[in-house]
Symmetry: C2
Subunit: 396 residues, 2 copies
């Protein structure tokens, strides 16, 4: 029997305990090995829980127990979780997590410790919740040179944008409905301002391209600037507005990554990804484009991915899996990356003197395909005369 | 260095040789181990190929070479491929393949040999081409009880149906265009009659539910019965017609699997899967629904999956991966499975005396939700008066 510990008995930790216990028979059959939850660390008591007897408040009960082989870190954040994870890896235990903040902030350091100690550090659940994405990217697409990954990586913002689109709701109303339904937190900044998406782009980039791309290197715009009018103008032209996280490998080996709202055309795989769903497209030189789709969050989908990692750590318990990235990615500002743009100004404008620009309405226009460098340069000129309220890329 | 052999230097075999050679640096870095193509078996000569010097016509050059650890079977079919695969597994070599015919026909037997000999038999490329599906199903969703899998598993039929829909083409014309573009073979029966899809349903069912479901146990209807009129009637009600392969675990542990055209509603994940693309939905008790999407065929996407399996066999070269199913699934006829149906008759009909039926036109109606048992019973009555030209399930 292999003993597992869970740190943090909140939404995810509780789902992990349930899944390991309720599907124990299936899990054991699949592994030819039995997994059992021995300890759960939390500051609180849970007298009503079926797991009450194995709750501990002392991290040492896990760290110093030689019978605990793998630990699911469901604490969240980057303080205690960071400290605990380091200590557990150094003690030779496998650690799995859904903690995207921690992996985005300290992944390279933690993977280096795991490698040194010949243990596994896995985090499938940190991107796309229950949707298999990191493991397929690392294993099944391993023969490909990955050139680009982009997707809808945050269900909360996608729910808000879908709601604005389907019900003509204002941003504030759509957001408060998302909060009411439990899809958005009381302080929604992490979702709405694109921070959560940037953490996921950091992880996808680092895994795909082999060097840590930090969130600070990812230009991040959220959806606060998206108005009901933008959405209806976009729709009249056959587009939906989506918050897209994207990372590209430049020809010189540097990485260009950003998070921003896009106008997504009907021919894109992401056009049909609505509500709280996530969709992630991976482009490889041999496989072409593949997409992974599903609910990107929630207790049980996330638990599904955390437990899959616990099982994978069991499969690789003797010889660790070669899942690793180094520190120090070269980051690009994407000057040569080409897009078409949708631009709205605060006042009526005339952009027709730029050959590449097409007026849509009195204060909106679309550009032709141009490099970021040229777009920025033209916008600098344009801003001398007008106030640019928003500028969104177009994904056809 | 680990030596690989490829059997069959056709479309897939050639793609595998190219990928292993051209992306060798990336593959080696990912594995911390070097893979090299040592031998390629084919009856023909390829004097112009860069692989000319390693072509052999003698299977023994592979079977009896102790330096060859893994073999990619790209021969196809179930005669030579079956014989070669058995001999290679018995000789202690790992075998990987995209050969869905062989896995659907003899998977349980080959997996039993692989298990006995402690080697791997992998076939990721047999379903969905380059789309990662079997490995995510087996590894990443391993903690879930899988209850259902359904999808568009054949690009040829989906191309034909999409073409009929978008261009108002007749079946025969859409098919001959698919043949002209190389998406359909001169004898298109395997695709058009649903046989290829049934093979893939056989493999998905067997892997998900742990016992071999043979193609003969899968009721299989193709798309020859779908007319331009069916498509336009379906479209007027917001549906697209798709060939769906589906497998369900019944409450008693038996498996109900079938292949048939469906009317797919706009809210289904499969509605947007058009042209040569495949989309496969997996339903698990914890993860909910996840979808895998991409091009389901083609030399390089398929090679991507075959090489991923070669890499996975390398990772599990000492202790084989627990990928296995037994023989002898209990098969259900799905009597209790519920659907709504679209029915067209050869002549004008009146189905309004059945309470559950709604006339759409003079010779078309839709039913309410009913069990297969009840639908079959009602159709038996109905057939006494009318000729049923087609009956398709509705997937909302």
């Amino acid at each position: 029997m292999t003993n597992i510990a869970i740190m943090g008995f909140g939404t995810v930790g509780c789902g992990v305990a349930d899944l390991l216990t309720d599907n124990r028979k299936r899990i054991s059959a699949s592994l030819s090995g039995d997994l059992c939850v021995k300890r759960i660390l939390d500051l609180r008591e849970f007298p009503q829980s079926r797991f009450a007897s194995i709750i501990t408040h002392d991290f040492k009960d896990i760290l110093e127990d030689p019978d605990i082989a793998s630990v699911a870190e469901c604490v969240g954040g980057t303080t205690f979780a960071f400290d605990y994870t380091k200590k557990l890896l150094l003690a030779g235990k496998h650690v799995v997590t859904s903690n995207k903040d921690l992996v985005a902030a300290h992944g390279a350091e933690l993977l280096a410790i795991a490698k040194e100690k010949n243990v596994n550090y896995f985090f499938e659940a940190s991107v796309g919740g229950g949707i298999p994405i990191l493991s397929p990217l690392h294993d099944d697409l391993a023969a490909n040179n990955i050139t680009e990954i982009y997707g809808i990586l945050n269900g909360t913002t996608n729910f808000v944008l879908t709601n604005m689109s389907e019900n003509g709701a204002d941003f504030a109303i759509a957001l408060s409905e998302a909060q009411h339904l439990g899809y958005a937190e009381a302080n929604p900044s992490k979702d709405i301002d694109g921070i959560d998406t940037a953490n996921k782009v950091s992880i996808l980039s680092s895994l795909a391209f082999g060097k840590h791309v930090y969130p600070a290197d990812i230009q991040t715009d959220g959806i606060r600037n998206v108005t009901r009018d933008d959405i209806s103008i976009a729709e009249s032209m056959g587009y939906r507005i989506k918050l897209i996280g994207r990372t590209l490998l430049e020809p010189d080996g540097s990485v260009y990554a950003y998070v921003a709202p896009h106008l997504v055309g009907a021919s894109s795989e992401l056009y049909g990804v609505n509500g709280v769903f996530n969709g992630i497209v991976v482009r490889g030189d041999y496989v072409g484009d593949v997409m992974f789709y599903g609910r990107g969050a929630g207790r049980y989908p996330t638990a599904s991915a955390v437990v899959a990692d616990i099982m994978e750590a069991y499969r690789y318990k003797e010889k660790r899996k070669e899942l690793f990235w180094e520190d120090g990615a070269a980051v690009s500002d994407g000057s040569e990356c080409e897009s078409r743009w949708y631009v709205r100004t605060a006042e009526p404008c005339d952009a027709s003197y730029f050959e590449e620009f097409d007026m849509i309405s009195a204060s909106c226009f679309m550009t032709g395909k141009m490099t970021n460098h040229n777009f920025r340069r033209l916008m600098d000129i344009f801003r001398k005369k007008y106030t640019v309220a928003c500028a969104f890329r177009i994904l056809d």
